[in-house]
Amino acid sequence: MGNVSSVTNLGRSGVADWLMQRVSAYVLALYTVVLFVFIIANPGMSYDTWAGLFGQTWMRIVTLMALLSIGAHAWVGLWTVTTDYMKSALPRFLVQAACGLTMFVYVVWGIQILWGF
């Protein structure tokens, strides 16, 4: 019957991917708002104020959430784009792998930055 399965999509099911992309979009939107409010509330912000914000545990958790959301969001999106436009399996897999690796590097690097200073 109809079910078109795939092993490279993130959530294994269509609805999981769809939901993940929606939820991650909300997280990212919210995170952007928080940053904006902070920037506007602190005119002429210094390095110390900025570092102070990221020194707090709650901000680190929220930022990590945003990072993971970017990873998931970009993965679902780029996976969709590659399956739309790249009809040849090997190049498509290579591009998907490159995207996955990049996401992973960004997430790890982000964690290092957050807890590294």
């Binding site: 019957m1 109809g2 079910n3 078109v4 399965s5 795939s6 999509n9 099911s13 269509g14 609805v15 999981a16 991917d17 769809w18 939901l19 996976w79 969709t80 399956t83 739309d84 436009y85």
Partner: protein, 234 residues
């Protein structure tokens, strides 16, 4: 009026080409595009296109008229003509067999995938199965589809993945049976649809709605299916 026709006969032509033909339209009468094609065919019998009911219910003569998909038999020339020119092409995204005739097998295959028939595991009663007028009303805007393929062949997602994305026409019928109070296979139907391609390749651009010659709304039906899938998954 100048008619620009997409011509291709695989036996005679190396590649498709556009043929310009001048047509004298009878005065005082607004012809349908199909009437124009019939006039052209009287002069050149090699021109090929499908047609049957000539009143917009059989879905044979879906084609692309000055850039927009529709049924030739219910589209008045005056409605589509631009600068005294009519450009007729086959439905986009499907393989061309000849001239305006496309190969619809992929389209039909996607329709067949959604189990487009009523499933009811209860023994049939001696009379009809009862259904309230309210439940019946839920099928309005769904059962009227004529399978002309105007919508699916106007959908970029269907162009990219015609083998995996069911497309607006098939999904409209999928929901027609999901919404039928007499159907008992909802769980099975939803399980078949929950993959990243069948439903979720719809990006909601609503090309299907803008071209449907019967005024139906596949995008809305797809939204309903997505909600049912969400309810089932969460």
């Amino acid at each position: 009026m100048l008619v620009s026709l997409y011509r291709y006969n695989p036996e005679a032509d190396n590649a498709p080409f556009m043929q310009d033909v001048e047509v004298e339209l009878p005065k005082g009468k607004d012809l349908m595009v199909l009437d124009v094609l019939n006039l052209l065919k009287e002069k050149d019998v090699t021109l090929s296109y499908r047609r049957s009911c000539r009143e917009g219910v059989c879905g044979s003569d879906g084609m692309n008229m000055n850039g927009k998909n529709g049924l030739a038999c219910i589209t008045p020339v005056s409605q589509v003509i631009k600068k005294d020119k009519l450009v007729l092409r086959p439905l986009p995204g499907l393989p061309v067999i000849r001239d305006l005739v496309v190969d619809m097998s992929l389209f039909y295959k996607q329709y067949e995938k959604v189990m487009p028939y009523l499933v009811n595991d209860q023994p049939a009663p001696a009379i009809e199965r009862l259904q309230t007028p309210e439940d019946r009303e839920k099928l309005d805007g769904l059962y009227e589809c004529i399978l002309c393929a105007c919508c699916s062949s106007a959908c970029p997602s269907f162009w990219w993945n015609p083998d995996k994305f069911i497309g607006p026409a098939g999904l409209l019928q999928a929901y027609r049976f999901l919404a039928d109070s007499r159907d008992t296979a909802q769980a099975e139907r939803l399980a078949e649809l929950d993959d990243p391609f069948s439903v979720f390749r719809c990006r909601g651009i609503m090309n299907c709605v803008s071209v449907c010659p019967k005024g139906l709304n596949p995008t809305r039906a797809i939204g309903h299916i997505r909600n049912l899938l969400l309810q089932r998954a969460t």
